[in-house]
C-alpha cells in the first residue's frame, strides 16, 4: 500500500501550500477569497460596461473578454487546474475546442445562406430576368 499517512499532520493547518505529500493541493484562503472577490468585481464591471455605448460589436467583445477572464479564474483557481495534472487541462481544452469547432463550422455554413423567397402557390414569383446566378 502506498504510504503517505505520516505526512498529513505537517500540512493540514490553514495555510497549506502546494502539497506534494497529501492527496491533492489545498487551496489557500487567500486564493479562494481573492478569486471570489475578483469575480464579483468583474461582474460589477461587466454590468456597468453595458451602460456605455461603444457600438454593438465592441460591447459584445468587452462582455466576452470579461466573461472569459472570469471563466479562466474559475477554472484555474476554484477548479484547481493551475495545480493539477496538465492532462486535465488538455481534457477541458479539448472539449472547448470541439464546441468551438461546432459553432465555427455551423456559422461558416449559415453565413453563406442566401435569401429564401417564401411564396404561396396562389401567388407565384415573377420569372427571374437576367443571366443564371452562379452563387
Amino acid at each position: 500500500m502506498a504510504d503517505h499517512a505520516e505526512h498529513h499532520d505537517d500540512h493540514d493547518h490553514g495555510d497549506a501550500h502546494g502539497d506534494a505529500h497529501g492527496i491533492s493541493h489545498v487551496a489557500t484562503i487567500k486564493t479562494l477569497v481573492g478569486t471570489g472577490g475578483t469575480l464579483l468585481f468583474l461582474t460589477v464591471v461587466t454590468v456597468l460596461a453595458t451602460k456605455i455605448d461603444f457600438g454593438a460589436n465592441i460591447n459584445l467583445a468587452i462582455a466576452m473578454v470579461i466573461a472569459v477572464t472570469k471563466a479562466t479564474l474559475v477554472v484555474l483557481f476554484f477548479m484547481h487546474l493551475r495545480y493539477d495534472r496538465l492532462f486535465h487541462t488538455v481534457v477541458f481544452v479539448s472539449a472547448i475546442c470541439a464546441a468551438s469547432l461546432f459553432v465555427g463550422f455551423t456559422l461558416m455554413d449559415s453565413s453563406q445562406y442566401q435569401h429564401t423567397n417564401i411564396w404561396h402557390p396562389s401567388e407565384p414569383p415573377a420569372a427571374p430576368v437576367g443571366p443564371r446566378p452562379t452563387g
Partner: protein, 576 residues
C-alpha cells in the same frame, strides 16, 4: 516462429491448470438472479450487455428481413407504404443504437478489456452497472415505440417530418437520450481505466491495439455523444412544446437539426468501426502468429481517426441546403479521414504476409473484414466527392456503403471477436465447423445482399422507397435472397454459441495462442480476473508459445521453475 513439434514441449506444460484453482470462476462465484442484477463485476455486466445486444440483433434483423421481403416486388408485397416506413426506421434505430454502437465496446470491451489490461476491474464499477441499466431503459423505450405507434421518420429523425408525424417520436427520442448517456459513461469509465490501471511494464506502447482502439472510441463517446443528447432533447421539447428551434414558421431552421444530429452521428460511425478495427488487429496478429506490422502507425491511426471524425459531419448534408463553401470544406476534410483507415488496412495485409495463418472462425471473420471494409471505405470516398454525391445521395449506393462498413465490417468484427474470446469468458468451446460454415455463410449472404445495391443505387434507385420501377426488381430480389442467407447464418451462429454454453467442450486457458494478458487469466476468469498476477510479456511476440494440444497453447517459459520476468505486485500500477 512458434514451435509446434511435440517433441520440443516439456511435460510440465501439459499439466498446467486451465481453469481457476483456488477460487470459483466468476460465473459460479455467486448464484441467483440478484447476484447478476446487482453485480459490480465487469465480466457479468459485459455478458448481460451481450445478451441484450444479441437479442436486439435478432429484433433489428427481423425488421430487415421484413423490409427486404416487402421489396421483393414493386408496390405492395406484404405491407403498405406506411408500415414499410416503420420497418426501415426501426431496423435502423435498433441496429444503430442498440447493436452496433454498444456492440463491441459495451459487451466485449467490458468483458475483455480490463483483463487484457491486467486490471482487476474497471475504474468505476458502479458507474458501469448504471451504464448497463441506462442501456436497458433506453432499449426498453425504443422497443416500446412499436406498440405506441411506431416510428417512421427514418433513424435520422429529420425535421420537419419528425415534428409532425403522429408516430411515437418522443418515446424513441427519450430512449435514445438514455442510450446516449449509457455510451458516455462507458467511454468515461474506459478512459480512466486505461490511464490508471495499467500494470507495471505496460507503457502506452505496450498496449494491445484493441485497447488503443477502445481508447480512441472512448474519446469520441465522451465528446460527441452529449450533442446527440441535447439534440434529441430539443427535438422532444420542440415536438411537445412548439419552442420553434427547428420550425421555420416560428423562425427556426430545420437544417440546424441536421448539423446537430450529424455532429454526433458522424463520430458515432467511427465509434462503431474503431473497436472493430482494434479487434481485427488482435485477430490477425494471433491467427497469423505475427506481430502487427507498423504498431505505432496503427495505434496513432486510432487516435487520429477519433480526432478527424469531428471535422467531417457536413458530408451527410451536401444536398440538404448546406452552403457551397461548407460543402467544399467538408468534402476536402472527408478525403483526409480515409487516410488513417487505409493505413490500418495496409498494415494488416502486411501482417498477413509470411504469417503462419490458422483459419479459425475468428480469422475467417477477420479476413472478411479486410475485404468488406476496403469496399465500404472506398465507396465512402466516392460519396465524399461533391459532384458524385449529388447523384448518389439517398440512393441505394449509400445504403450499400454504410452496410459494408457497419455490418460487413463492424458486425463481422464483432462476430470474430465473439468467437475469439468466447472460450475465455464462457469456458466452453463453440463448434468450429459450424463456426467456419456460418462465417462463410455470412460472407456470401452479405455480399449477395449488398453488392447489387451498389449497382441499383448508381442506376438511380432511391433509398427508403416502398415502390420502385420494375427495372430494379431483379436487384432487389437478389438482395432479398442474400438477406435470408445472411439471416439464417446469423441465426445459426447465435444458436450454436448459446448451445455451447451447455454442451460445448471445456476450453483451455489459451486456445488460440494469444500473447496478450487475457490469455494468462484462468478460463473462465475468477472474480478479480487473475489468480496469480499476470506477467507482461513483449507485445505480439509468439515465439514463446507452443501448441501443447488441439486448441491449447502454453508459454514455454512457464515450464521452468524460475520465472525470468517478475510478476506484477498488486500495488504497482502505472497510472499516468
Amino acid at each position: 516462429m512458434a514451435t509446434t513439434a511435440t517433441t520440443a514441449i516439456p511435460e510440465s506444460l501439459k499439466n498446467l491448470p486451465q481453469g481457476p484453482v483456488k477460487e470459483p470462476d466468476f460465473l459460479h462465484v455467486t448464484k441467483g438472479w440478484k447476484s447478476w442484477a446487482f453485480t459490480l463485476d465487469h465480466k457479468r455486466i459485459g455478458m448481460m450487455y451481450l445478451f441484450g445486444i444479441l437479442f436486439s440483433l435478432l429484433l433489428g434483423g427481423t425488421f430487415a428481413l421484413l423490409l427486404r421481403t416487402e421489396l421483393w416486388s414493386p408496390g405492395k408485397t406484404i405491407v403498405g407504404a406506411d408500415t414499410y416506413n416503420q420497418f426501415f426506421t426501426l431496423h435502423g434505430a435498433v441496429m444503430v443504437f442498440l447493436v452496433i454502437i454498444p456492440g463491441i465496446p459495451a459487451a466485449l470491451g467490458n468483458i475483455i478489456m480490463p483483463i487484457q489490461l491486467g486490471a482487476p476491474d474497471v475504474a468505476f464499477p458502479r458507474l458501469n452497472l448504471s451504464s448497463f441499466y441506462l442501456w436497458v431503459s433506453g432499449a426498453t423505450l425504443l422497443v416500446l415505440t412499436i406498440p405506441f405507434g411506431g416510428l417512421d421518420t427514418g433513424w435520422t429523425l429529420y425535421t420537419p417530418y419528425s415534428l409532425e408525424t403522429k408516430t411515437a417520436v418522443m418515446v424513441a427520442t427519450m430512449g435514445v437520450f438514455l442510450l446516449g448517456f449509457s455510451s458516455i459513461f462507458t467511454g468515461l469509465n474506459f478512459l480512466v481505466t486505461i490511464h490508471k490501471f495499467r500494470p507495471q511494464g505496460m507503457g502506452w506502447f505496450q498496449l494491445p491495439l484493441n485497447i488503443w482502439a477502445i481508447y480512441g472510441t472512448a474519446i469520441m463517446q465522451v465528446l460527441a455523444t452529449p450533442v446527440l443528447g441535447i439534440t434529441v432533447l430539443l427535438l422532444t421539447v420542440e415536438r411537445f412544446g412548439h419552442i420553434g428551434i427547428f420550425d421555420p414558421t416560428l423562425g427556426g431552421d430545420p437544417v440546424l437539426f441536421q448539423h446537430f444530429f450529424w455532429f454526433y452521428s458522424h463520430p458515432a460511425v467511427y465509434i462503431m468501426i474503431i473497436p472493430g478495427m482494434g479487434v481485427v488487429s488482435e485477430l490477425i496478429s494471433t491467427y497469423a502468429r505475427k506481430p502487427i506490422f507498423g504498431y505505432r502507425f496503427v495505434a496513432y491511426s486510432s487516435l487520429s481517426l477519433a480526432l478527424l471524425s469531428f471535422l467531417v459531419w457536413g458530408h451527410h448534408m451536401f444536398v440538404s441546403g448546406q452552403s457551397r463553401l461548407a460543402n467544399m470544406v467538408f468534402s476536402a476534410l472527408t478525403f483526409t479521414v480515409g487516410i488513417p483507415s487505409a493505413i490500418k488496412v495496409f498494415n494488416w495485409v502486411a501482417t498477413l504476409y509470411k504469417g503462419d495463418i490458422r483459419l479459425k472462425t475468428g480469422m475467417l471473420y477477420a479476413l472478411s473484414f479486410l475485404l468488406l471494409f476496403t469496399i465500404g471505405g472506398l465507396t465512402g470516398l466516392f460519396l465524399g466527392i461533391l459532384s458524385v454525391d449529388v447523384h448518389l445521395h439517398d440512393t441505394y449506393f449509400v445504403v450499400a456503403h454504410f452496410h459494408y462498413v457497419m455490418m460487413g465490417s463492424t458486425l463481422v468484427a464483432f462476430l470474430g471477436a465473439l468467437h475469439h474470446w468466447w472460450p475465455k469468458f464462457t469456458g466452453k468451446m463453440y463448434n468450429e465447423s459450424l463456426g467456419r460454415m456460418c462465417a462463410i455463410g455470412v460472407f456470401i449472404g452479405f455480399n449477395t445482399t449488398f453488392l447489387p445495391q451498389f449497382v441499383m443505387g448508381a442506376r438511380g434507385m432511391p433509398r427508403r422507397y416502398w415502390d420502385y420501377d420494375p427495372q430494379y426488381q431483379v436487384f432487389h430480389q437478389i438482395s432479398t435472397i442474400g438477406a435470408f442467407i445472411l439471416g439464417i447464418s446469423l441465426f445459426i451462429t447465435v444458436v450454436y454459441l448459446m448451445a455451447s454454453f451447455w454442451t460445448g467442450p471445456k476450453a483451455s486457458r489459451n486456445p488460440w495462442g494469444g500473447s496478450s494478458l487475457e490469455w494468462q487469466a484462468p478460463t473462465p476468469p475468477t472474480l478479480y480476473n487473475f489468480e496469480t498476477p499476470p506477467i507482461v510479456h513483449e507485445l505480439y511476440n509468439y515465439d514463446d508459445l507452443v501448441e501443447v494440444a488441439e486448441d491449447r497453447w502454453e508459454r514455454l517459459s512457464e515450464a521452468t521453475e524460475n520465472q525470468s520476468a517478475a510478476p506484477v505486485a498488486a500495488g504497482d500500477k502505472e497510472h499516468h
